[in-house]
């Protein structure tokens, strides 16, 4: 099986993150690694760098990872988490400037076709 670009969904809300991931998984099945996280270390609204980092580890595949986020601080925390990944992975993890749910759906369906990271990112950003 060809490896696909993985998808990581980072929301301020655990429910949004879980819900978006469930929609994506229903659409693309298990071909694409989809991980999600939402909420702070004490389960309030916000994002948790360690949780994002764990999602990146789980979703990692050599073709790379496309990250979807909901609000600006989720992007910043995703970038912090990426900066903690091994150097050779960092350049293959991109943050997509896209609506979180639609972007994740389009990125995952593009990834399921075996497309490369730039194509997956473009699909999300066209959402």
């Amino acid at each position: 099986m060809t490896q696909c670009v993985g998808i990581v969904i980072v929301s301020h809300s655990a429910e949004v993150a879980r819900g978006a991931a469930a929609m994506v998984k229903q659409m693309v099945g298990s071909d694409v690694a989809v991980e999600s996280c939402g909420g702070t270390v004490d389960s309030r609204l916000g994002t948790d760098v360690a949780a994002i980092r764990a999602c990146l580890d789980l979703a990692w595949n050599p073709p790379g990872i496309a990250v979807l986020f909901d609000l600006g601080s989720a992007r910043m925390n995703a970038e912090m988490a990426i900066s903690m990944c091994p150097a050779e992975q960092q350049e293959r993890i991109v943050v997509c400037d896209a609506p979180i749910v639609e972007g994740a759906l389009l990125a995952a369906s593009e990834a399921s076709l075996g497309s490369d990271l730039n194509t997956v990112r473009a699909a999300a950003e066209d959402a």
Binding site: G46, T47, D48, V49, G72, M76, M80
Partner: protein
Amino acid sequence: MDIPIRELIDAISVQLQQHAEELTDLDRAIGDGDHGINMARGWNAVVAARAEIASLPPGAALEKIGMTLVMNVGGASGPLFGSLFMGLGKHLGDNPGFAEFRNALRAGIELVQQRGRSTAGEKTMLDVFVPLVEMLETFDPGGGTKTVEEIITTARCGMESTQAMLATKGRAAFLGERSLGHVDPGAMSSYLIIETVCNVIIRNLARQESS
């Protein structure tokens, strides 16, 4: 320069807890209403780790404070204040004097600018820190209490200057002109941190004079 790291951590944490509600109210006006809670959460975690932090050399201690904020705050102030302390710590060197501290602060501020893709004048914490580091270029570190009070004044002016600014970064940017007339909560917490650090310095100066 001897840095009373434990005293600083406790004082900053108490100050931010005392103002948590005010910061959250400000953030509710122009952001998403979590700044006070987020800063309190981050500094609670720093207080919890303070024994370990205080055992480190000054630079490593500040870096550890930054990393603790990054891992615990949960909002934009995590990576932003975290980067400030991490940059500050990384560039402080083994035997920091005033000039080393000022240069390290400049490095920390540059990291904040990169992380937030922002510059001064955009209604953020940078409107406190950028004028401060400029002021420190001509600052007399041997001037005692009076000159330390000038730092507080500079930081206060920076914070107050955000009231008349139009936000172009963060959630406040969605509000456009409705962001006018409110002090930026990140600028407010920056001021509170600087004021607290200065008051600790003033207290230590007084102790030195009386001993």
